[in-house]
């Protein structure tokens, strides 16, 4: 599974993107985020406040309840500020 981080989530996580293999019990976005938080103090800091984490699965906005699998690209980022 490919994880991509943007903006200050990227800076806090200390990684732009990474390939990860979560345990089989991780089947949705919520589970994935809980598992990622355990991977490093940087990950934990980046994902500490779920209210400011936005999620896209395969380039589409997703929610904590959406399923994720080994072939998915999951992006984690703060609220957008374009335009």
């Amino acid at each position: 599974m490919k994880i991509i981080y943007f903006a200050w989530l990227r800076e806090k996580a200390g990684v732009n993107e990474e390939d990860v293999t979560p345990p089989a019990g991780v089947t949705d976005v919520a589970g994935l985020i809980e598992w990622l938080k355990e991977q490093s103090p940087g990950h934990a800091a980046a994902l500490a406040d779920p209210a400011v984490v936005r999620i896209a699965v395969n380039q589409e906005y997703a929610t904590l309840e959406d399923p994720v699998g080994p072939d998915d690209e999951v992006a984690l980022f703060p609220p957008v500020t374009g335009g």
Binding site: W8, A56, Q59, V80, T81, G82, G83
Partner: protein, 154 residues
Amino acid sequence: MIRVQREDFDPGAEMARLGGASHGVGGVCAFVGLVRDAAGEAEVRAMTLEHYPAMTEKALAAIEAEARQRWPLEDCLVIHRYGRLEPGERIVLVVTASAHRQAAFDACQFLIDWLKTKAPFWKQEETPEGAQWVEARDSDDAAAARWNGDPAAE
């Protein structure tokens, strides 16, 4: 049409192109967003726009299709830049062309409201106190929310 690019763009040329698409166009509405030299009290020397390329083009194409479905547009265009930009530089262009002006205005506002709240771009400002990530604004969410209902009712 959508374009995501580092380079600047020419609003006048794009407006002329969309306005000239057919003699059925009665009105062209355009919005250009520019880098300001201040954010609240802080001086802004430059900003850098980061984006999520794989998602950006897909998301912009989808919202353009939605604008065309909601309003009778002859044509519409969104250009969004990324990279480092200084105060006074153009960031974003939205142009809409329609037989009647209200459709052009509404679609143009819809697109820019959407870009502000959904397009995967992030701005980091260079200030005398260092680099600062721009925070999302509640007023942008409120502006975008007004399009969630039936457009005919607005």
